[in-house]
Amino acid sequence: MDDFLWAYQSLFYGLGVNGLLGLSMYAVLALGQLSLGQAAFMGIGAYTGALLSLNFGMPFALVLAIAAVVPAVAALVIGGPALRLTGVHLAIATIGFGEVLRVFYINSETLGGGLGLTGIPQRADGWTIYGILGVALGLFTLASRSKIGRAWEAIREDEDAAKVAGINVTAYKMVAVILSAALAGLAGALNAHCSSFIGPGEYGFDAAVTVLSFALLGGVSMPLGPVVGAFLLGALPEVLRPLHDFRLIFNGLIIVVVVIFLPRGLLGFRVRRMG
């Protein structure tokens, strides 16, 4: 019975973390930007958080804050040059970043090499995870319905036109990439503190594409969409056990089908505003 509860508790925590990842993808997709560093930034957050907890025993709130700031700084360094160029450059630079980090984790002895870090204290609970998710979702929803949301939409529809209309496109994009990295870092740290183990294999290319599939399944017409998508894709393989082995195939298929049949619906949707 205890096993049963434990298994579902970890699913419950996992879904909350997925929801945060979905939001972090939303943060960039809402502006029509494709950053594929979500898994990498999640990894930075997870390793940062785990090291702080294991070695210094800092208060959990401080650990989480640092785990959000470190990936945000990394995003600044990578996003800076890539954002001056095209969306393609940003996508490539962020995928490359994930790959180089994976190799770095495997080769680093401080980070446990290929075995990863174990024995991370279980400091995250449902209240923390869902509290953070709720607050983030609330803030994003408010932002998307304000002047900020209209600027996002303008940038997504036509960058040049948005620039002409007086929107500081580069600043908006930069903030989006940094925010998205911070959220992914938070998700990583939370995940590390509820699963007690992290390894270099968890933050690679497959993970990055999976986060994208969360956002695409839910649709990015409002911040709630990616969160719902994340819940669905996280819960499905657990509910339908046979689907487990086909998880990645299924995620890939979702991206293909959604992008082909609803291309404008994804990058060119319209947000319904209140008032």
Binding site: G32, L34, L36, V77, I78, P81, A82, R84, L85, T86, G87, V88, H89, A91, I92, A93, I95, G96, F97, E99, V100, V103, F104, N107, D160, F205, D206, V209, T210, L212, S213, L216, D245, F246, L248, I249, N251, G252, L253, I254, I255, V256, V259, I260, P263, R264, L266, L267, G268
Partner: protein
């Protein structure tokens, strides 16, 4: 010792250039970062392995089968994944996303079908005996790789610069609509480009599989980072740039591993990529177009 290092750098650099060749060609003509490229790469190697092992075809036949097979796969997958997006003039990032989903889908399928374990070519397929040539010791396949890369790069370059079809290709790259009005068969050029670059990918996969004597579903993914670095540094769509950047990256990596530290070697490609984004965003020769308003 130094000569051997230089030779190793040449082999490694040729592999990178070979991998990047079709990748940059697809972008140059079709304006798509086609991540399916990594799948064609592995598929070519598996097809050749299958031909040698199960059909007992001699190696040259297996290579031909692998190359043609990947070309067919390339045309079919392009039709399945990208033709509709092209017809509706979907944003550039949509096509990047669809190939992201596609590569996850097909790589996972391959993993499920063949298993993740590394497969090897049968012992008799190719001599892996090292040849000694003055101060050099190298396997025959390494000489073959260098030769093939130079022949292929020259051939593709001449094909694009000197032939009628090459001119049509350049016209489509420049402006597909205008090219169609001038009587260029745009659909045919799109198919040709997809098939050609997938064939180049499959061929590269076979050579790399033979060089390491290892075939594995994710072999394309592990070269992807280097491939990205090479095509960005060389300039997106620039074939000559890809050759120079590939060779340069190989040289840098081998020298870093030999004289600095072998762990640091892994960071070379990415550092070069970021540096290139800051300093030469238009590519080594500076004429690769970014975005046209």
């Amino acid at each position: 010792m130094f000569v051997q290092q230089l030779f190793n750098a040449l082999v490694l650099g040729s592999v990178y250039a070979l991998f990047a060749l079709g990748f940059t060609l697809t972008f140059g003509v079709l304006r798509v970062i086609n991540l399916m490229y990594g799948f064609y790469f592995a598929a070519g190697a598996y097809l050749a392995l299958f031909a040698v092992q199960e059909l007992a075809v001699p190696l040259w036949g297996a290579v031909a089968l692998g190359v043609v097979g990947s070309a067919v796969l390339g045309v079919v997958c392009d039709g399945l994944l990208l033709s509709r997006l092209r017809a509706t003039k979907a944003p550039e990032l949509s096509s990047l996303m669809v190939t992201l989903g596609g590569v996850l889908l097909f790589n996972s399928l391959m993993n499920l079908m063949f298993g993740a374990e590394v497969r090897r070519f049968p012992a008799g397929a190719l001599s892996f005996e090292a040849i000694t040539l003055g101060p050099l010791r190298a396997a025959p396949i390494q000489f073959i790789i260098i030769a093939v890369v130079f022949v292929l790069v020259t051939a593709v370059f001449l094909f694009i610069a000197r032939t009628r079809i090459g001119a049509a290709l350049r016209a489509v790259a420049e402006r597909p609509d205008t090219a169609a009005l001038m009587g260029v068969n745009v659909g045919g050029i799109v198919g040709l480009t997809s098939g050609l670059s997938a064939a180049l990918a499959g061929g590269a996969g076979i050579l790399v599989g033979l060089n390491l004597n290892a075939v594995q579903p994710y072999m394309g993914e592990s070269l992807m980072l280097r491939g990205f670095a090479v095509i960005i540094i060389g300039g997106l769509g620039d074939i000559r740039g890809a050759l120079v950047a590939g060779l340069g990256l190989g040289l840098l990596e081998v020298m870093t591993a030999g004289y600095v530290s072998s762990t640091l070697k892994e960071a070379v490609a990415f550092s070069a990529l970021i540096l290139a984004l800051w300093l030469r965003p238009g590519g080594l020769f500076g004429w690769a177009s970014g975005k046209r308003a």
